[in-house]
Amino acid sequence: MKFIKDILFFEIQTTGHDADKDSIIQLSAVLLDKDNLLEKNNFNTFIRISYLDSVINEHAKILHTDYETLRKSPKVYDAIKNFHKKFGADLLLATHSSNNLWFLKNAFKKAAVTYDYDYHVIQLWTLGYIYTLNYGLNKMPTFQTLLDYFRLKQKNPYDMMEKVRLAAEIFRRIIREV
């Protein structure tokens, strides 16, 4: 197989489900090499979106981390600027669900960083759906369904870095085995 662009898989932890009202509090990504789909770079950060102790505490609970770690984490502007600077935009974005993309776009907006990625994005859910359908799985696949199907173990469901690596592995297997 040959890809034209490297693929940047990303996953996020958020404060809720509404991309217009809620925020990203963890952003994790792995860059896959276009020639072999192996990980060639990665990014992982918590994002502090408030100075208020109560809010930091609340978000630390969602992330299953401690107050101090989150308090010292970058603000959205720095996180997004670093993310963009690290990988550039000459790549193809990929993520499990398209809702993640709206959160990312809104985070770029909040950070006043130009979102200059190509508008095509690999939605892993679609590939997982068609793949499991082909093998007779009779339900809407969740991320967990795909993990079970490929016998992949998730040690910590709150760790987005682990999740994005698993998403990349699911992608590799679907592409190789389809």
Binding site: K2, I4, L101, D118, V121, I122, T126, Y129
Partner: protein, 188 residues
């Protein structure tokens, strides 16, 4: 391959991405495909009367080729959404081609019409499926397209007959995408 549900392939045209504040939804179209045969069972198409015509984005309008005459007497967003909502069953699999903008605009249009979103929150992205199949078969070869292929490249490659002047009419696009889906799944 049998899908679990019929597929509702949806496309929209809009005057820019800042809907509803600055831009408008201008057309909603959809075709319902049978889950086993992928044959078209039903279709819907409606233009939508804009509220911010003077704000229309030049680039978007160059793509959709919609003129004032086509939309001036069309239903409002709420009226069009009510009709669309009644046109199809809701236990379908929605599908879009690079759909996150269409999906978001459609969700907002439902909000404007004060209708609760009746479909499952999952949707099928045809572009992602085509990308996976072409990647597997080493066919990401279009140098013109960022990711190695685009809809026009597929239309040519799969020898699908189209009227180029009609492309980007939302209903025509739905039918072209349905044709590509049938051929890709057959040749995969």
């Amino acid at each position: 391959m049998n899908f679990k549900r019929d597929i509702l392939l949806i496309d929209t045209e809009f005057s820019g991405f800042d809907f509803p504040k600055k831009h408008d939804l201008l057309q909603i179209a959809a075709v319902l495909l049978d889950r086993k045969t992928l044959k078209e069972k039903k279709y819907f198409s409606s233009y939508v009367r804009p509220n911010h015509w003077k704000n229309r984005d030049r680039e978007s309008m160059k793509v959709n080729k919609i003129s004032w005459d086509m939309v001036k007497d069309a239903p409002t967003v709420a009226e069009a959404v009510i009709k669309f909502n009644r046109a199809f069953p809701h236990n379908v699999m929605q599908a879009f081609y690079v759909g996150y903008n269409d999906k978001r605009i459609l969700l907002e249009a439902y909000r404007q019409a004060k209708i609760k979103w009746p479909f499952d929150y999952h949707y099928f992205d045809l572009w992602a499926l085509f990308y996976g199949v072409l990647a597997k078969n080493n066919q990401l070869k279009s140098k013109k397209d960022f990711a190695g292929f685009g809809l026009e490249y597929l239309i040519k490659k799969l020898k699908i007959k189209i009227d180029k002047k009609q492309m980007h009419n939302a209903l025509v696009d739905c039918r072209i995408e349905a044709d590509v889906l049938r051929k890709i799944l057959k040749t995969r």
